[in-house]
């Protein structure tokens, strides 16, 4: 494992295989909270935070609990419970000790439990990285990069949607349909990153 490998994981998950535009993970918050740039930013920060930490936690659960006891087939149940409990814990901790951050993240934290990008990154880590040398560091990079890519997509979309409010969109396409079509056009742009494979 070297620095270059980590860098290629980061670019791969943040741009080339962007969670929203290429893998369709986390579309619900993408559609739901991209009406204003500020809320998109809040959600993005919460996702970066939870994704990075949950990558570490699911790694620990998998390597230290599931593998030694030979129950790796229970990983789906274990991961979702750990993520749900972890999000709850983070919420309680922030509320008590960092109230400013808690107010900034606000309602976005509980929503993350059902964000498929978070479980998605844990599953991707399990399928691609677990068992390779230095897997913990790679998982952290993949989680962080995924969060960055997610935030990037959210911000791009929020910026476009704020302007879409003033556009004359046909009645039946207003709201979610036009948001999806816009996302499709943006995704064509993101296809260009496919050439960045190392």
């Amino acid at each position: 494992m070297n620095l270059f490998e980590l860098f290629s994981i980061f670019i791969g998950v943040a741009l080339v295989n962007n969670f929203i535009f290429c893998q369709f993970l986390g579309l619900c918050p993408y559609i739901g909270v991209t009406e204003r740039t500020s809320s998109a930013m809040g959600m993005g920060m919460a996702v970066i935070f939870v994704m990075t930490l949950s990558s570490i936690i699911t790694w620990a659960i998998y390597e230290w609990v599931l593998v030694p006891y030979g129950i790796t087939y229970l990983y789906i149940i274990a991961f979702i419970l750990v993520i749900a409990a972890f999000v709850q814990l983070v919420e309680m901790f922030l509320q008590k000790s960092v109230p400013a951050l808690y107010r900034a993240l606000g309602i976005y934290l509980p929503l993350i439990t059902t964000n498929c990008a978070v479980l998605g990154v844990a599953t991707l880590n399990k399928q691609q990285l677990f068992g390779t040398p230095g897997s913990l560091i790679k998982c952290i990079v993949q989680g962080f990069g995924g969060g960055i890519g997610f935030t990037l997509a959210m911000l791009i979309m929020a910026g476009i949607r704020e302007r879409l409010d003033f556009a004359e969109v046909p009645q039946s396409l207003r709201g979610i349909p036009i948001a999806l079509i816009t996302a499709g056009l943006t995704a064509i742009g993101f296809l260009g990153f496919a050439g960045l494979s190392f």
Partner: protein, 221 residues
């Protein structure tokens, strides 16, 4: 007699509402992520539709039965206590069924399993399943929950079929693996890539809304 009749139409309604008026993908917009990701080909769509319907059916039955059972054996104040931790309970039940599907598919349909990839474990966080558990199964009888699950599952599968048919026919020139336009057809590759999914889904959603607006506003949204 009148009562039985209305109950029958009630049951029929539980079944059919998922297909058009409350279609999970195009109308209530839940479960978009797997729908867009696996709708590359019709066979993928059928596999994902069947898997999600199975999980939805199992979790709806177990959750409805469990909640009715708790109502019966526990005093109301204890049931209210259990209600507070209902979401974790639902998630464990759903995750168990997803594990069953994951193992069965891995064992009996390895090719399909490889193509669906991470989207099989991700059925756990498919919003349709948790959404139906919370909005329907928790407060209704087992029979109604079964019909609701079948209708919603069918609606989800049909939406997937619609998306995947358009994408496969235009993007690969094939329909369920068979060439439709002949060998000279130049496939529109973009339709099988990620942008095609988003565009197709957005246009279909607009079409559904347009049809609904034309039919009049007496249908509940």
């Amino acid at each position: 007699m009148v009562h039985a009749d209305s109950e029958k139409t009630g049951h029929w309604k539980e079944f059919t509402k998922g297909i058009f008026t409350l279609n999970p993908i195009f109308v209530i917009v839940l479960g978009l992520c797997p729908a867009l990701a696996v709708s590359v080909s019709i066979s993928n769509a059928l596999g994902m539709g069947a898997a999600a319907t199975f999980v939805l059916l199992g979790s709806n039955i177990v959750i409805a039965a469990l909640m009715r059972f708790l109502d019966r054996i526990f005093p109301p104040d204890l049931v209210a206590q259990v209600q507070k931790i209902r979401i974790p309970i639902y998630i464990v039940i759903i995750a168990s069924f997803v594990t069953i599907v994951d193992l069965i598919m891995h064992g009996f349909a390895p090719a399909l399993y490889a193509r669906l990839g991470i989207y099989v474990p991700l059925i756990v966080v498919n919003c349709i399943i948790l959404g139906r558990a919370e909005a329907f199964a928790a407060t209704s009888g087992v029979i109604a929950a079964i019909l609701d699950a079948l209708g919603m599952g069918l609606g989800f599968t049909l939406a997937l079929l619609l998306l995947s048919a358009v994408r496969e026919i235009i993007g690969a020139g094939k329909c369920y693996g068979y060439l439709v336009f002949g060998a000279g057809y130049q496939p529109v590759l973009i339709m099988t890539l990620a942008p095609g999914a988003l565009l197709t889904c957005g246009l279909f959603m607009g079409l559904f809304r347009h049809m609904k607006a034309k039919r009049g506003k007496h249908e509940p949204v």
